[in-house]
Symmetry: C2
Subunit: 365 residues, 2 copies
């Protein structure tokens, strides 16, 4: 088995951002799988979700397994023996691409809160040079789940001629009020943590508590109520009776505490602010006067839209609305409602039937 | 219009608690409406929800209106011209009844974190002396929504001969894993706030940020996704475009920030810990081996159970399960599924059809 390494593309052309500012230089951390064919027409660009990174599949040199091993690899739905797969850490992230933890060339210090507020469209534009680097003019497909699904949508609109197929999973064309609310509360938890210090915290003493709270909130939204009942219910963690304290009594409390405590070890609090704000700002209808069909009319890709029945963050109904709008705009679009008791996270951890549907779409459809 | 005053019943008998400890003395803050008849059989006990208090209806001497003016008053569903209505602040609360802000007689200081961890059953037992005070042996009805609905259920089991009717609204027979998760995150936000200081904070410098976060989380669970779309959507609060900052851009952010900021002015952070823990601990099936029909077999009341279609905190399905269990136990029970786009909070702010259904149940049924 080959070992995956993160690679870097550094660019000195300025990147103009939606906010009006620009980044003088940037790095893109990425990984690839498979081989680009001579015609350079077998490439698939995958976008990761909020807390993801470029390590989609295989064993990384740092020992980690990929976040989508289930779907990406030799013989898998995204078949690396057939396709050349790319995934880059998003702009604003903390896994190698330029973000708030990067050095600001103007000050020689980390950007921190001086990093510009970015959009998902900025993230997409930031990955355009990577395709140029490989001489890819047209992608066999773009794909992603959750924020990755939103980035996929954005790509089809910003680079309509470059995306032949688009696979949008567990996402929405915009962030609705309740989802904005969760992001807002998470950001406030981080910014209320005295250790956030206006965003200028030392690497070894970040606002762990605030980021843990944000992650715990996020985590509840990624799992369905029924799956939580099934997996945890009211089971006590390590005792026979309630403790009559505010400590951990229930297994769900223990699970969440673990999720919260471990997250700051692998994720930057400022990145969390920037990425969630970008998600909140996303509106695929953009300048079309809130017309979803008009938004899809700006695209050229063929769409396969996957929803998960118990996903209460981005509901199946929102996916159906997208699909109907794409069809109204004359696009080739199909909505696959996947039976998935887990909820939102099913796009990450459930293999079938989505695997076969994706394989079919990529290979034959 | 008569002015409502909070009244107090002080008791020197010790109150034994589920945790094994006891309170040497206690105060119960309560209000009443209407007149107790000579037979003392026209009394209705109402239980308030998490952030509620004894001021259910009318204008309080402090100027506040009641939290259930819509439903309780002359000629209303809970008709104060016909019934004698009582409501007490719950044990552990911060609106006059004994709780963490009360003086611990052993130390002469506020209990704070030395207050015992209590249960909903403890709260119900604490209100028993109030009924004795009025010479009430049998209640025409007990009623409440959300935590008040859980307290109503608990009452019917702890004092089966005392409750003729029970009205349970927007509640559940126990707190499920997702609801425990939200409470846990809220408590952690409070306890992570450095101003919480282990629970010994001065009255004028409480952990406002943590309590604000807890309240914001709670608030999202009280409103349906659809109602948030309808009421806020992606509307910007006071500008034409996104600010490209982490401040308030969207109306939903402004609304939540207001909810968070105002709450600590009227609620104690430690009370929030104690009351949410009591909700988490609630399990109506208690010692019955998790049998809901067996739990209802311990009751004698006639049940009317109200669910609200878009309530995602305590779903209609959970209310149906309760109703079926009550029927299986031979109880007179009926489930009213109320069409209510708002979500959980509909029990508080929507008048019909629940008003007429309650009136019918209380008067004729």
């Amino acid at each position: 088995m080959t070992v995956q390494r993160t690679q870097f593309l550094t660019l000195d052309q300025p990147l103009a951002l939606a906010c009006g500012r620009s980044l003088a230089s940037q790095a893109i951390a990425y990984q690839t799988w498979g081989t680009l064919n001579a015609a350079r027409d077998n490439a698939i660009l995958i976008f990761h979700a909020l807390s993801g990174d470029s390590h989609v599949s295989g064993v990384h040199e740092d020992g980690r397994s990929g976040w989508w091993d289930l779907m990406v690899g030799p013989g898998r739905a995204f078949d690396t023996e057939r396709y050349f797969i790319l995934c880059a850490n998003v702009l604003g992230g903390c896994k190698g691409s330029t973000g708030p933890t990067s050095i600001n060339p103007e000050t020689g210090q980390a950007y921190g809160p001086d990093f510009p507020v970015i959009t998902l469209e900025d993230m997409v534009h930031a990955q355009r040079p990577l395709l140029r680097h490989f001489g890819i003019e047209r992608l066999h497909a773009v794909a992603g789940g959750s924020m990755g699904g939103m980035l996929t949508l954005a790509f089809t609109q910003l680079y309509p001629e470059m995306a032949e197929r688009a696979i949008v999973m567990a996402a929405s064309w915009t962030n609705h009020a309740q989802a904005i609310a969760w992001n807002k509360i998470g950001r406030r938890a981080i910014m209320d943590d005295p250790k956030w210090r206006g965003g200028r915290y030392p690497v070894d003493d970040p606002p762990r508590n605030g980021l843990a709270l944000a992650r715990m909130i996020g985590h509840v939204t990624y799992i369905s109520e029924g799956a939580m009942d099934e997996k945890f219910g009211r089971r006590l963690q390590s005792r026979e009776e309630e403790s009559f304290t505010f400590g951990v009594d229930y297994a769900i409390e223990s699970y969440l505490s673990h999720q919260g405590t471990s997250f700051p070890q692998r994720f930057d609090a400022n990145s969390y602010l920037y990425i969630t704000r970008a998600i909140d700002y996303f509106d695929f209808t953009g300048d079309t006067g809130c017309s979803l069909p008009a938004a899809f009319a700006l695209t050229r890709a063929r769409f396969r839209i996957f929803s998960y029945e118990s996903d209460w963050l981005y509901s199946p109904a929102r996916h159906e609305a997208m699909t109907q709008a794409a069809l109204a705009a004359g696009r080739d679009a199909k909505h696959h409602r996947i039976v998935a008791p887990l909820g939102h996270d099913a796009f990450l951890v459930q293999e079938q039937p989505q695997g076969d549907l994706i394989r079919e779409f990529l290979h034959n459809d």
